[in-house]
Amino acid sequence: MVSSSLRIHELCKRYGDFVALAPTSLDVAKGEFLTLLGPSGSGKTTLLSLIAGLAHPDEGRILIDDADVTHSPAYDRDIGVVFQNYALFPHMTIEDNIAFPLKMRKVADAEARRRTAEALETVRLPHVAKRYPRELSGGQQQRIALARCIVYRPAIILMDEPLGALDKKLRDQMQLEIKRIHRELGTTIVYVTHDQEEAMTMSDRICLMNAGAIEQLGTPADLYFRPRSVFVADFLGESNLLSATVRGVDGDGLDIVLAAQAAPSRAVGNGGSFAAGEPIKVMVRPQNLVVGDAGGGGQLAGRLSGRLLDVMISGSLTRLYIAPETAGMPQLVAAHPTRSGAAPYEIGQLLSLGWHAADAVAIRDGKGI
């Protein structure tokens, strides 16, 4: 199956004084599933529009398979776009919608009919060919939009929050569907979403964007376990962020001291270079926060105590909200799998908290690296 690589070089877009996309470079490999993740206004949709040719960059270049397409119009790029609200043509039947790109490419009628039927098979909706878009449910329209996109086998498919309008259950189902189609076709996909769970589930790599620039680019695990900035740690999943100061560096490990606490502790350097005396943040994921009765937890790297404020059970996870005894330290959250039976702790109880050195990740204070 056809599939192309995409290279973006110092691409930049401004609207008046507003920088929608600061000069940005990005490589997407053949057949890769890359997600552009970020809050609204972070520039992800701008970047997608530029790649699709629906907006023109002020500077920079876009290369598809090493061919410069920066100034090619959208209809010459051989890119497929699945729009947020599907953009199905309301005056055409489903069949005509799907055949439209083939018609534009002057594919012979018989061949077009065959491929249209095939695409409908792929999205598992062969029976709706003669209907009009408004007669389909949201989920079905979504599949048709996908079919219209894969039918002409574009080398790259761009998806702009394609599941945003669907409810949770349908969204989960469609995520699997899109992954299946990606596997079967092997097409390069650039996917935009603001939903971090969706990004984690689907992507080979995630490109996390913030304020018109790339904040961090890497595999879901990279971003989750080794965030390079407070923004990344905050955006992907829950995290506890503690202020600390670097005491010494050995290899990838750091000797640190938590703010307002004299006891030394350890953290993972996370590939960044830190200097002794530097103020940093230490991130501990809720599931890595070990909770015990006061006084326990001898061999742990970090140690604190705090009072239990609240317990919340959200399905498979139980969250404990804890106010540390140390003044000036933010409220912490610990998570462990929900077990049946009575809650082990009482509200107001004093608990000991700790974490293993490998689970404490040092992050530069302030903006990313």
Partner: protein
């Protein structure tokens, strides 16, 4: 709740029009076809009908073809420029037909701007006679009806998802193809609606052909006026009205057969519109034609020097923008040129000479004009209030309740827009004459309410549809009784919509001439009637002064309405 409206329409629409039609077949000795025999005896009346159809058809074509790019541009530009463009269209829309027609008389006159310009450019050596021919009537008609065409098409275009042409581009459609195969078919309901609105309005026009046309541009409504005003021949006026109604009916029937009347209200966004009733070979031919048009435009576009580089694909082309501004200039300039002329002391010749307030003094010291202004304000406010009072409950009924035959009720309520105004006017005149209401402000308010109330109902229905009824439920759950809910929640939220429909009704009445033409006169005249009487007698600079006042008044009104609308939107 709808009873007052039904009563109003039965008494002052159905009954008068029915009377008039009956008069055409009932003579002194019972049933007779004498009127119709006279109508078809010579070719005179049929010729007038043919001229009417020809003028209306050409007007419609020009309005739709030139209005389309204007509506398109307004639908794609950013908010700020949209407000500007829309202001000029609305200003033109709301400027009295009379004022605009009068402006063209001055503009096209022997010493008018156009002649002066052509002479100074050396194109002609002596003033050409530009007035009183088919061309001048066409210019006047297009100027009068272009804003209507633009606004009708705009209401459909604004509902077209802007992502669709973009989606077409990503799917491989070049700009011409994307336009003809995707955008154009989706905008067709608007084109059709604009076409029929303009055509039906044009058929019933008399101001423009009377002021700008010669004998050979006499239109059918002018015949009706002559029959009533000069010979008091009700029966024959009725017969001509039947002929006119018949033509309108055929037009609507054909429209319904081809496209379905439901597309007309504009309520049917293309998203929900039923698939076109054109089917089979016709649809295929249409599709092939669009493909061909797309291919040709793309071929032409490719010949043009490539300016795509660095250009936002969403931006409208310079050519389109230039065209739209020129059209807006053409429809706005005549009225604006009245302003300097009204302060000039050298009559209505271009360029204006000197500066004088003489014409304004003349107007203000004339009891005819001052009375007419007061009268028009009184009747306008009366009409606005009455139309609101009667129209709002009916709109509530149509939106909120499940009455049977809603479409039929709506068609009935909208019928005053569809029935040519002249027929309503003559019928009302006949009925008023027997009730002693001719010349009374009350009678006029009733008549104006009949023609203004459909606009109130449409506007209020749109407002009510957007109103979140859960707010009412919330109020009720918080302990508010129905009346308290209306007073504290529903009406405050609907206030802006009610205000704008009041303004709509007011403006309709303020500009209404047809009904006022028969039902008023002398010191009873409304402003349009006084204007008409003056302008048919002589073309004087005093009228330019009145035009200027009217123009500025309408400009202010639109400005206020727009501010109200925005404040409501910002909430």
């Amino acid at each position: 709740m709808g009873a007052p409206l039904v009563l109003l329409l039965m008494l002052f629409l159905v009954y008068p029009v029915g009377q008039l039609l009956l008069l055409s077949v009932y003579g002194d000795n019972g049933f007779t076809l004498a009127q119709y025999r006279q109508l078809f005896a010579s070719s005179v009346y049929l010729d007038v009908l043919l001229i009417t159809l020809k003028i209306s058809l050409v007007t419609t074509l020009v309005c739709v073809v030139t209005g389309y790019p204007i509506a398109y541009l307004i639908s794609v530009v950013d908010k700020e420029r949209k407000t500007t463009l829309l202001f000029w269209v609305l200003l033109s829309f709301w400027t009295s037909f009379l004022v605009r027609a009068f402006a063209w008389i001055v503009l096209l006159g022997r010493n008018g701007v156009i002649n002066k310009l052509l002479i100074s450019l050396g194109i002609i050596s002596s003033p050409a006679s530009l007035l009183y021919n088919f061309g001048s009537v066409l210019v006047g008609m297009v100027n009068a009806l272009l804003p209507l065409a633009v606004l009708t098409m705009l209401s459909v275009m604004e509902n077209i998802d802007r992502n669709l042409p973009r989606a077409a581009a990503t799917l491989g459609a070049q700009p011409g193809m994307a336009f003809w195969k995707i955008y154009f078919p989706l905008s067709l309901p608007g084109v059709a609606a604009a076409g029929i609105m303009v055509f039906v309005t044009a058929i019933g026009f008399f101001i423009v052909p009377a002021l700008l046309g010669g004998r050979r541009e006499t239109m059918i409504t002018q015949l009706i006026i002559d029959q009533v005003q000069q010979t008091m021949n009700w029966g024959f006026a009725g017969a001509i009205s039947v002929l006119l109604l018949f033509v309108v009916f055929i037009v609507f029937a054909a429209y319904d057969r081809l496209l379905g009347l439901s597309t007309m209200t504009g309520a049917a966004a293309p998203r929900n519109a039923a698939p076109s009733r054109l089917s089979g070979p016709l649809q295929k031919a249409g599709d092939a034609l669009l493909t061909l048009l797309g291919a040709i435009s793309d071929r032409i576009l490719r010949l043009l020097p490539s300016r795509r580089r660095g250009r936002n694909p969403d931006q409208a082309g310079m050519g389109l923008q230039a065209f739209v501004w020129i059209m807006l200039l053409i429809i706005s300039a005549p009225t604006i040129l009245m302003i300097p002329l009204s302060f000039g002391s050298g009559g209505l010749n271009w360029p204006p000479q000197g500066f004088t307030l003489h014409w304004y003094e003349t107007v203000l010291s004339s009891p005819l004009w001052t009375q007419a202004m007061l009268r028009s304000l009184l009747v306008g406010v009366g009409t606005g209030l009455l139309a609101m009072l009667i129209g709002t409950p009916a709109a509530f009924l149509l939106v909120r309740s499940d009455i049977r035959g809603k479409a039929a009720w709506l068609a009935f309520i909208l019928s005053p827009i569809v029935v040519p105004r002249m027929i309503i006017a003559v019928g009302l005149f006949y009925v008023f004459a027997r009730m002693g209401l001719v010349g009374s402000a009350f009678g006029l308010i009733l008549g104006h309410t009949v023609v203004a109330v459909p606009y109130v109902v449409i506007t209020m229905m749109a407002v009510l549809r957007n109103y979140d009824t859960r707010l009412d439920h919330a109020a009720q759950s918080l302990g508010a009784r129905p009346f308290a809910t209306l007073r504290y929640v529903t009406f405050p939220i609907l206030a802006a919509g009610m205000m704008s429909s009041f303004l709509f009704a007011f403006a309709t009445s303020f500009d209404e001439l047809t009904i006022a033409l028969f039902a008023t006169g002398g010191l009873n005249a409304t402003l349009p009637k006084q204007f008409w009487d003056e302008v048919t007698l002589q073309v004087s600079p005093a009228i330019a002064a009145v035009s200027t006042c009217l123009f500025i008044f309408m400009g202010l009104l639109i400005f206020v309405a727009e501010r109200l609308r925005r404040r409501a939107a910002a909430r």
